[in-house]
Symmetry: C2
Subunit: 327 residues, 2 copies
C-alpha cells in the first residue's frame, strides 16, 4: 500500500498544481464544438449544480471507426483480413482459384466488392475463426504493431484522432468511464484499445463471433467459431450497451448513421446528456465524405443532429491537428 500511497499523493500534487488548469483540449480550435464539450463536462461534475451526475453514472461511449481513428479507404479491420489472407495463402493453395480469396490475393477490390457482403464474410471468417482467442490476439498484436496504411504509410495505431485522444483523457480526468462501442470486432479492438486509447478490454464493446470452451490436452481454451454472434451496429448498439454496461450513457460520440441509435438512446436519458457527431469534411488532412458514402455514411444522423441541437464537429475547422504528429 505504501507504494500506491506515494504514487497517489504524487498524482494529487500534480493535479493540484497550476499546470492542471491548462487547456485540456489543445488540438481543438476555440469555437462552439470545443465550448460545448468543455461546458458539458463542467456542468455534470459541478457538485450541487442542477446537472450534476454522480461519478458512477458518468458513462461515455465512443464509436471507433471514423470516430477514434480513420476508416478509409475501407475499415481497417478489413485491411487486416486482406493482409491475413496473404499471410495464410501458402497454407491454402486452393485460395488461388477460389473467388473471394483470389480477388483478395490479387488486391482486386472491384471484384471483391462485386462479391458483396457474402464474400467479405467469407474472408472474415477464414481469417478470424478456427483459432483460440489467445492465438487470434497474438496475430492482431503483431499486425497492429507492424502493418501500415496503404495511403499514409503510417501504422494504423497512428491514424487515431489526436483531438479525440484528448477528449477521452479529459473525460477520464473528470471521473468518466470511457467505453468503445463499435461495429468492429470486439476481440480485434481489445488487443490495442488500452495502449492506444487508454480503454481497457472490459470497456470495449463490439461485434463478435461465437466462441466455445474446450479442454485440449488438459489445457482449457476458447475457440473462435465461424458464426456471427452479435452485430454491434445501428439498433445493435443500444443493445450492446445494455448488455455490457447495464446503464445508460450520459455522453455518446459517433460519426455515422450506424451510431444514430446509440446517440438517441443516450439523448433520451433523464437528466443531462451530450451527443456529438464527428463530420469528415477535411479532404486535405483526412477524407471528406458523408451522405453518399458507402463507408461511414452520415445522412439521417446529420438531419437529426441539426433538429436536436447535437454537436457536429467539423474536422476541417474544429481541429488544429487530425492525427498525432509523426514521431
Amino acid at each position: 500500500m505504501t507504494h500506491r500511497l506515494i504514487a497517489t499523493i504524487a498524482l494529487l500534487l500534480a493535479l493540484a498544481s497550476p499546470a492542471f488548469a491548462a487547456d485540456p483540449l489543445p488540438s481543438w480550435n476555440d469555437g462552439a464544438s470545443k465550448a460545448a464539450v468543455i461546458d458539458f463536462v463542467a456542468r455534470v461534475t459541478k457538485p450541487g449544480g442542477p446537472d450534476f451526475v454522480p461519478e458512477s453514472e458518468r458513462i461515455a461511449v465512443f464509436d471507433n471507426d471514423g470516430t477514434l481513428w480513420s476508416e478509409q479507404p475501407v475499415y481497417f479491420q478489413l485491411l487486416f483480413a486482406l493482409d491475413r489472407v496473404k499471410a495464410m495463402a501458402p497454407q491454402h493453395p486452393e485460395w488461388k482459384e477460389k473467388p473471394p480469396f483470389k480477388a483478395a490475393l490479387a488486391g482486386d477490390m472491384k471484384a471483391l466488392a462485386a462479391g458483396g457482403e457474402h464474400a467479405l464474410l467469407e474472408l472474415v471468417m477464414a481469417t478470424h475463426a478456427n483459432q483460440t482467442t489467445d492465438e487470434f490476439a497474438r496475430v492482431v498484436d503483431e499486425w497492429i504493431r507492424t502493418a501500415r496504411h496503404p495511403k499514409t504509410g503510417r501504422l494504423y495505431s497512428e491514424m487515431v484522432y489526436q483531438p479525440m485522444l484528448e477528449l477521452l483523457a479529459h473525460l477520464r480526468a473528470n471521473g468518466f468511464k470511457t467505453f468503445i462501442v463499435s461495429g468492429g470486432g470486439i476481440e480485434f479492438m481489445r488487443v490495442f484499445a488500452e495502449r492506444v486509447y487508454g480503454v481497457p478490454p472490459e470497456q470495449v464493446i463490439g461485434s463478435s463471433i461465437a466462441t466455445t470452451f474446450e479442454v485440449r490436452d488438459g489445457v482449457p481454451v476458447l475457440v473462435r467459431q465461424p458464426k456471427i454472434a452479435f452485430v454491434d451496429d445501428k439498433a445493435g448498439k443500444p443493445v450492446g450497451i445494455q448488455q455490457h454496461i447495464g446503464r445508460r450513457p450520459i455522453a455518446a460520440f459517433g460519426n455515422s448513421d450506424g451510431d444514430l441509435q446509440m446517440l438517441q438512446w443516450t439523448a433520451a436519458r433523464r437528466g443531462a446528456s451530450f451527443c456529438l457527431y464527428v463530420r469528415h469534411d477535411d479532404a486535405a488532412r483526412e477524407w471528406a465524405y458523408d451522405r453518399e458514402s458507402h463507408i461511414g455514411r452520415l445522412d439521417k444522423g446529420l438531419d437529426e443532429a441539426a433538429a436536436r441541437g447535437w454537436t457536429v464537429v467539423s474536422m476541417k475547422s474544429d481541429w488544429k491537428t487530425v492525427h498525432p504528429p509523426v514521431r
Copy 2:
C-alpha cells in the same frame, strides 16, 4: 476536482492510519482458508515480488447463487418469478387453469418440478419478458426491497454471506476489480449488485434474454424478448468472461459444478492464480448439501479442488458468521 481531492486525501489518511492494519476478514476463523486468501492477495500485490500482478490485471470473478448469497430452497430468482406470477395473476385469469401457472399460484412445488425445465422456462419468460429494461428493473427493485425469504423471513439482500462481503472489499482495497459471473439473470442482479455487493452493473455478467431496440412514440426503449440469448453456466462462464471482460481472471470463487469451467479457465492462467470453492456444510446456520443436491451440486468440483489444491471453504468451520447480523 477540489471536492474529489479532499475526499481522496481523507481516504488516504484513513488508509495510512494504524486502523488499516486491522483484520480485513473479521468474520473468517483463523485457519488454512483464510490464510490462503490473505497470502494470495499479499503475493500478487507485492511490487517486485515473483507473483506480482499489475493492478489492471487483478480481475476476480464471483459466482452469485450459493457463493455470495444463499440458494435454498431454490434459486432466489425463481422465487421472484413465483412472486411475480402471483402479482400478475389478476391480469391473467387464464393462468388459473394453465399448468405451470396453476401450480405456481397454488405454491405446489411438486407439480412445478414435475413440469421440468420447460415449465420453469415458461414461468420465467412470462415474468421476465415483454417489458422494457427500465420496467423490469423497477419491478426487481421493488421486490428486492420488500420480499422476504420463506424460511428466514429476512430480505433476500440480507441473505448474503458476510465473510464474502469482506472478501470482496479486501480484494477491492488491494486494487482488484470484482465481477459477478452467475447463471442468474444479468439484468436481475444488476438492480441490486452495486448496493448489496459494491459491484457496479458493468461488472455483472449473467444469463440473458434477447432485447430489441424500438422507438415508441418517439421514445427509444429496449424491449425484453421471450427468447434465451445466453446461458452463463458451466462452459458458458469462460465464454461470458471473455465476452464481457476480455482478459482472464486471476481469482475465481464458486460453490458448484456450474463454476468448474470458470475455475479451470482461471487456474490455467500463466502466473499466479487463486481458485476457491464455498462448501455448504452448515445445516445449523445455513444449509448442508453438495454431491447429491439438485441446487448447487458440488461433485466434480470437489474432486478437482482436492486434486489441484484449490481452497475449499467450510462454512461451518471457516466462517464465524454466515449472514450479516440482524439489524
